[in-house]
Amino acid sequence: MSRTISIDPVTRIEGHARISLQLADSGEVEDAKFHLTQFRGFEKFCEGRPYREMPALTARTCGICPVSHLLASNKACDDLLAVTIPPTAEKLRRIMNLAQLLQSHALSFFHLSSPDLLLGWDSDPVKRNIFGVMAKDPELAKQGIKLRQIGQTIIEILGGKKIHPTWVVPGGVSEPLDSDKREAMLKMLPEALTIAKDTYGLFKTMVPKFKDEAEHFGTMPTLFLSLVSNKGQLEHYDGLIRIKDAQGRIVEDRVPPSDYPRIIGEAVEDFSYMKFPYYKPMGYPNGIYRVGPLARLNNAESCGTPFADVALAEFHMLQEDSSPVRSSFHYHYARLVEIIFAIEMMQRLLKDPSILDTRVRAHARGNRDEGIGVSEAPRGILMHHYKIDEAGLINWVDLIIATGHNNLAMNQSIKQVADAYVDGNKLSEGMLNRVEAVIRCYDPCLSCASHAFGQMPLSIELKDASGAVIDRLVRDA
C-alpha cells in the first residue's frame, strides 16, 4: 500500500516549496516530487504596462536577486529600443551583476548550506542554522556575513540602494560612476578576495568527507546549459548559449540568446506552479538540463582571471574522467569558484580607466515590437521576453527563471537522494534533511521570501493507506 511523506515547507531556501515522497509497500521510495506552492502571476499582470516599467516591476519577483531581473529586463528593453548601449554602461552593469553574484552565492553557501556542511546532516535541527555556525566557527560565520555585505554594499554604491535599485535603465545606466565611488569599491575587494580564497581552501579540504553525498546528490546524466563568451570563457552578462551533454560533447554552441525559443520549450505539470523547461530537440522530459554555477563551469573553457582559472582547473578534477562534473553536490564548489571570479573581474573592470566615462546611456523610443534579454543570474540563465504594441505597452511576457530551468533536475535529484537515504519504515530527521539539502545545492530562489532560513515549522507525517499516522516528525518555528 503506498504512502506519502510530505516535507512542507522546505527550509533554508529562498521561497516556499514542498517535497512529497511516495513510498511503496516495502517502504522504498517510489516517486519524489518538488512542488512550488506559490502562484505569482507576473507574466499576466505586467500586460498593459509601459515597457519602461518592466525592469522595476519584474525585479519585484525577488528580494535576493533583483539585480538579475533588473539586468535581463533592461536587456530586453534595450532590444525593444534597438540600441547598443555605451561600452561603459555595459561594464557598469557587469560590475553590478558580479556584485549580485557575490552576495547571492555568499548567502547560499554561508547562511543556507554551511550549517549542513559544518554541523552535519544529522545534527540538532535547532542549532543547524547560521547561528549554530556562529557558535561553532564564529570567524567563518563572520567572514560569510562580511562577504555578502561587500556584495550588497557595491550594489548600493552603484545603484543607490542594496535591494531593488533603479539605476540600470533601458539604454544603459542613469548615472555615471565617479572616482570616489570607484575607490570605495576597490578598497573593499582585497578583503573579499582573501575571504573567498580562504573559504575555497577550507572547502577543498572538506570535499573528501562528502564523498557519499557527492555520489548520491543528483548525479544523473543531464545536459548543461549556460552562456559563454565569444571565446568560450565564463560569462555572466552577455554572450552566447552553449549546451554540453553529460559526456562533455557540445550539443549546441554559439546560439544567440534571441534564438532561445528554438531550443527551449516549457512543459507544465499539475503538481507545481513552476514550469518545466526542457531542451526541445530531445523532447520532454528527456531534454533535462541543468543551469547555474555547475553548468557555467562545465561549459567554460576558462574564467579569464588568474586565481579563478586555477580553481576552475581544480574543479574539473572533481570528475575522474574528462567529462563534465556531474554531481549537484558540487554546485557548492562551483559557487566558491565563481565568487573568486566575481571579485577578480570586478577589480579588473573598476581599474579600467574608461569606467569613469560619462557617456552611459543611449536614448531611443520603442523601435521593435519584440525584445529578448538574457543574462546569467546566480542560479542560472535568466530569460525575459516581451512584446509591445505600437504605443509601447506590454501585450505579452514570458519569463524563464533560472530556478525553473533546474526544475526537472531538482525532481530527479530528490528521487535519487530519497532512494539512497530514506527508509520509509522509520523516519529520521537527518535523512529528510538530506532530501532538503540536495535542493539547497541548486540554491533555488522560489520567491523573494528571504525569511525562510531555518526558522520555519517543519511537519513530516508518515501515513498508511487508510490515512493513519504511523510516524511523525515535527520541528517548531
Binding site: 498593459g48 504596462r49 509601459p50 519602461r52 516599467e53 525592469p55 522595476a56 516591476l57 519585484r60 531593488h164 533603479t166 535603465v169 533601458p170 542613469s174 536614448h363 523610443r365 504605443a391 509601447g392 505597452l393
Partner: protein, 243 residues
C-alpha cells in the same frame, strides 16, 4: 516690458490660526494665508494659479463657531476667525482620505516613474500612512500611451483635475475634461479620444507638470525619473490676471 498691476482696494482682516495672530487681505482664502505664513496644510487639488474646486478635501480645517469642517482652499478669511489646522480629528480624517485614494487605484510607488517626486507619496508620508486599512479595489484601468511625448496612466490618477484646469485656464486649449461618475470617473482628452488623436492638444506639457502623481508623465522616463517642474504656473497666472 514690466507689467504694472493696479492695487485693488481690499480690507485687511485679523484672524488667529493655530493660536497665532495674523492679518490677511479679506479676498484671501485660508490656505493662501497658511502658505504665506508657512503653516503646513496638506492639499492635492489646490494649486496656486488655478481656480479652486475643493475636490480632495485634504485641506479641511476646524473654524470656531462652525459645526462642520471647512475646506481651507474654498473658504475666505473673515474678521476674528479662529482656525485650527492640525487637530487629532483632522489628522485622522486626512489619513483616511489618503488611504482611500491608495485603495481606489493602483498607487504602488516602487514601480512608478514618479517615485520620490510624487505629491501623493509625500502626503502619505506626512499623514503617517504606513499601511492601508481598507481593501484595495484592484481595478485595472487602461494606460493611454498614444501621445508621442506624454503618457496617461489612469491607475495613478487622483482626479484632482489640475490637468483640466491648467489646460483650460492657462493654455486655453481645454483638451482635458472629466467623464463618468463615482469610481468610474476618469479624465479624458477631447471627447474621450485617445490622447494621441486629440485635435486640440498643443503638446505644451503643462498638464504633465502640474499633475501631482505619476498619472501624467513624459514618455521615455523610467522608474523615479519623472521630476515635475511647476514654477511656470504662478508666473503665467499672474500675467494672465494682469491682462
Amino acid at each position: 516690458m514690466p507689467i504694472i498691476a493696479t492695487q485693488p482696494s481690499v480690507r485687511v482682516v485679523t484672524l488667529r490660526i493655530d493660536g497665532q495672530d495674523l492679518s490677511a487681505r479679506e479676498d484671501e482664502t485660508i490656505i493662501e494665508v497658511c502658505r504665506e505664513n508657512k503653516i503646513p496644510i496638506p492639499s492635492l487639488c489646490w494649486m496656486e494659479g488655478l481656480s479652486v474646486v475643493g475636490a480632495c478635501r485634504l485641506c479641511m480645517v476646524e473654524v470656531a463657531g462652525q459645526n462642520r469642517l471647512l475646506a481651507a482652499c474654498a473658504t475666505r478669511v473673515t474678521e476674528g476667525m479662529e482656525i485650527t489646522t492640525n487637530s487629532e480629528k483632522l489628522q485622522r480624517y486626512r489619513r483616511t482620505l489618503v488611504e482611500l485614494l491608495f485603495a481606489e487605484r493602483n498607487h504602488v510607488c516602487s514601480v512608478c516613474v514618479s517615485n520620490g517626486h510624487c505629491e501623493l507619496q509625500w502626503l502619505a508620508n506626512s499623514c503617517g500612512v504606513d499601511h492601508v486599512r481598507m481593501p484595495y479595489r484592484n481595478h485595472g484601468y487602461a494606460v493611454d500611451s498614444t501621445h508621442e511625448m506624454f503618457r496617461l496612466d489612469h491607475n495613478r490618477c487622483v482626479l484632482c483635475t489640475r490637468c483640466v484646469r491648467v489646460c483650460d485656464e492657462i493654455e486655453g486649449a481645454h483638451t482635458w475634461d472629466v467623464m463618468g461618475r463615482g469610481s468610474d470617473c476618469q479624465v479624458i482628452t477631447d471627447l474621450a479620444k485617445p490622447w494621441g488623436d486629440s485635435d486640440t492638444c498643443t503638446s505644451c506639457g503643462k498638464c504633465v507638470q502640474v499633475c501631482p502623481t505619476g498619472a501624467l508623465v513624459k514618455q521615455g522616463t523610467s522608474v523615479g525619473e519623472m521630476v515635475k517642474d511647476q514654477h511656470f504656473l504662478p508666473i503665467l497666472a499672474r500675467r494672465r490676471s494682469a491682462r
